[in-house]
């Protein structure tokens, strides 16, 4: 392939078939599902619903056969990168292997088929799954109580802040502010606002850590909580976390931990043991449930005893006879954060993952940290390392050296695609200008790590020798860099039939 060097070992040419939109393949009368014949009398919708309520057809809805659907989506799938194809070094996203047995058990008859409103006596299997996973997550985090309802990390954050708010309200004053380090995920400040708090950012210190002295000056009776990610988004453990917690507690404020980086801690250290009052986990990160192109996830929230009365309804309880049930009578509860029992199918997968490891989950943590440090060691002579403290599960470089050649982190990331890798996280965390945020996870072999290191070193050489090659990458994909400015200026967010504008119905 033109422009690709012989040094690219992992990637090669891959046939990529053309494929239009499903609507462009449609022809009247085709379909891909046939139903069994109706075993009751036919009813005319117009008569039954009344003319004002009836609809004849969904205009321009696709009409295709089964094989066309299979081919369409299979062809689309070949345009995606995926964990199943190779390393996905997205810092902060924890793209690890998604075990297939998790998918299998989540689809079992008797699990996938269950209705959330069926009687509890016919749901003991589902409730046991919830119960066992709850105990496992509490043991891993060292916390006291848990809710499984939140749909994803951001909803977990909201739940956590609402718990803090309810607790402080019960003490007389919900307070006004939530403190958030400048290294935090964007969801943290967005969540704080929805919880009714003002956001005050704290600048990190020169090591990328929470500036404890600054914090001491900022914590007062208006502060409800500090939201901290630990290890921080630069991949470093907050060494003064207990001191941070004490500063907050002495002022009546609480410590929230974003558990996005729990992959660095499972089996090694527990947030409950270092002063955290409330935290969420991202089961689609640490607990291997698939990202699925953006979701679904699950964001259970773990709390210390003082926050337990405020947990969302319902709460899973064990009755005197040993059976499990839901307790809806929780007068201090913050209420529901979503309908039904959360993303139950995701919870099933997370339990399957936890059972596969058992206490051996520590080995996964060790391997994740080992991989990150191995990559750091082999790239630190080639890329600028702004923060020098020991790395945990991820390492953050900057493009400072490559900038001198006019090449930025996004260019390097795009060039990495030509080498057969998904880019690392670019331009985050915000405290590292031009960040290259690399998280290999434990799922990568030494061989894959070595290939990645070779690719990154090779790109560093290309930046010096032929910066244009890097700036115009990727060169091997089905489409080149896309015009995002045009996409935002005149948004085309849906297909429409060519001839005329579509009537609603």
């Amino acid at each position: 392939m033109e422009g690709l060097s012989d040094r690219i070992k992992k990637a090669g040419r891959h046939p990529s078939q053309s494929e239009g939109l499903i609507f462009e393949k449609s022809a009247p009368g085709k379909r891909g599902i046939e139903l069994p014949p109706l075993d009751v009398p036919v009813v005319d919708p117009r008569q039954a619903l009344g003319g004002a309520h009836a609809r004849d057809a969904v205009n321009s809805f696709p009409e295709v056969s089964e094989i066309e659907v299979i081919r369409h989506f299979t062809r689309l799938s070949t345009w995606n990168y995926a964990i199943d194809l190779g390393m996905y070094p997205l810092g902060s996203c924890t793209m690890k292997y998604n075990p297939r047995v998790n998918e299998f058990v989540a689809r079992l008859d008797g699990i996938a088929t269950e209705h959330p409103f069926q009687p509890v006596e016919l749901s003991q299997g589902c409730l046991k799954i919830l119960k066992v996973l709850q105990s496992c997550l509490l043991e891993i985090t060292g916390m006291d109580a848990i809710t499984m309802q939140p749909s994803a990390g951001a909803q977990g954050e909201l739940t956590g802040l609402l718990l803090i708010r309810a607790y402080l309200e019960s003490q007389g004053d919900p307070r006004k502010k939530v403190l958030i380090p400048d290294s935090a995920h964007g969801t943290n400040p967005a969540t704080a606002v929805i919880a009714g708090y003002e956001v005050e950012n704290i600048r990190s210190n020169a090591q990328g850590q929470i500036d404890v002295e600054r914090l001491r000056g900022m914590v007062n009776g208006d502060v409800a909580a500090l939201m901290v990610t630990n290890p921080s988004t630069v991949g470093v453990f907050e060494q003064r976390i207990v001191e941070v917690s004490e500063i907050l507690h002495s002022a009546g404020a609480l410590l929230y931990m974003d558990g996005a980086n729990m992959n660095a801690l499972a089996g090694v250290a527990r947030p409950g043991d270092f002063g955290v009052d409330v935290m969420h986990l991202n089961l689609h990160k640490t607990f291997s449930t698939p990202h699925g192109g953006g979701g679904p996830g699950a964001g259970p929230v773990m709390v210390k005893k003082i926050l337990e009365p405020f947990l969302p309804v319902p709460v899973l309880v064990e009755k005197a006879d040993g059976t499990l049930a839901f307790d809806f009578n929780r007068p201090k509860s913050i209420g529901r954060v979503r309908a039904f029992c959360g993303n139950f199918g995701v919870l099933v997968r997370a339990l399957a993952y936890t059972l596969a490891y058992g206490p051996g989950i520590r080995q996964a943590t060790e391997d994740a940290v080992l991989n990150a440090n191995y990559i750091r060691k082999h790239l630190e002579d080639h890329y600028d390392l702004p923060y020098k403290l020991p790395s945990m599960h991820e390492v953050v470089f900057s493009d400072a050296r490559q900038k001198k050649h006019g090449v930025s982190t996004i260019d390097i990331a795009k060039r990495l695609i030509d080498y057969g890798f998904h880019p690392y996280t670019t331009a985050f965390p915000l405290i590292v200008p031009g960040a290259l945020m690399i998280e290999p996870t434990e799922s990568e072999s030494k061989e894959e790590c070595d290939l990645f290191i070779d690719a990154m070193r090779s790109i560093a050489e290309e930046v010096a020798a032929d910066p244009e090659l890097v700036k115009t990458a990727p060169h091997s994909t089905r489409v080149g860099r896309l015009d995002e400015v045009a996409a935002a200026r005149k948004p085309i967010l849906r297909w429409k039939p060519q001839a005329s504008g579509e009537a609603a119905d």
Binding site: S77, N80, L122, D273, G335, L355, D367, K377, A504
Partner: protein, 448 residues
Amino acid sequence: MRYLPKSASERLEMLQAIGARSSEDLFVSIPAAYQLKRPLKLPGPLSEMEIIDYFRARAAENSRGYASFLGAGVYNHVRSVVTDTILQRGEFLTSYTPYQPEISQGTLQAIFEFQTLMCQLTGQEVANASMWDGSTALTEAVLMAERLTGRNRVVVARSVHPEYRQVLATYGHNVGLQVDEAAFTPSGQIDAAALRASVNQATAAVVVQSPNFFGVLEQLPELAEIAHARDALLVVAVTEGVSLGIVRPPAEADIVAMEGQSFGLAPSYGGPFVGVITTRERFVRQMPGRLAGQTTDHNGRRGFVLTLATREQHIRREKATSNICTNQALCALAAAVHLCLLGKEGLRELAQQNLAKARFAAAELKKIPGMRHAFSGPTFNEFVIELPRSVKMVNAELLKDKIIGPLPLGNFYPDLTKHGLVCVTETTTRAEIEHLAASLRRALAALV
């Protein structure tokens, strides 16, 4: 451990390469006092076979072998093995959010198709890439209406799914949202006259569900007129998307919040499902969640990207339209594949079958002495029956016949303890309906 691709000697080699003596050295930055000194107390490790056995045993403790007439936001519909075959392709299953469009065109185009399908179904102009579920979609739709109107009061029909209303209350509590509820009439529909009196200059939105929690279709044109007369928005929740195969779409709504579980997703004890918001094009910049848009690459080839990201938390932080990040992308893909399989004719036939079966069931149950239909409004595949006894007592009897009976509405409406919500879909057989009718007769006789 089978998920970890390193041998002991490779670990040693890598440790040496970074200058560590042992794995303990990897964690030097964690103060020793906070390091766990013991192994975690967790069940396992289990082999693949043991994991499967464990979950099979749990499955056996659930409801297998029972006929169910539950709906109420979670429906048992036909699902094709084709959908799951596509879903389990690693390229979809194990890919990340498509922030790198050059190697994510598969996911992006599928989202674009999902957005189009959702617009077509709901009669709206734009749709987002998914929300967590119907309940959070509805809440976000209300918050969106609050931003669009600059007003902070909403009037919500009591016939909106009770758990959806609970979620709205949780979110609204701290952002100054005033939620007033509107009663329903003997038709099961919102009391339009009372609503007209209640909507005022402070009202951001009128919020209804159609078909509503009682299965009854709302008179949307009239409700839109009432809302719009006061410059408020009409927000419509749809929990049963299959209805849209034969029911007029909520085209007069300003924002639609739909639960897409009916489109190829298993009940799965309540999730993961797929919420979606659809709306008018002019409101798109206040929409929460991701959006896929069409564009071109430098060679002029059509391609897709995530767009209008300046609404989102990773760019706008505390000024974002929502805190949502991870959504329900794979479930949205399932819905898209399922709807493509069904197609125009399949969706219509599916909806017709639901209507026919539900009408048959309603007629059969009406024959039972003491049983009456609670509401007179038009229904799709759910309807409310009023029993001479408490639904809970009756259901306990039905369980003996391996039937999970109507949802007791008394759980949510203290004034409706003798009311039960019956759901019948295309998957319910005539024999099951007749079994329910016979069993109900027996149960009521036994309880006299």
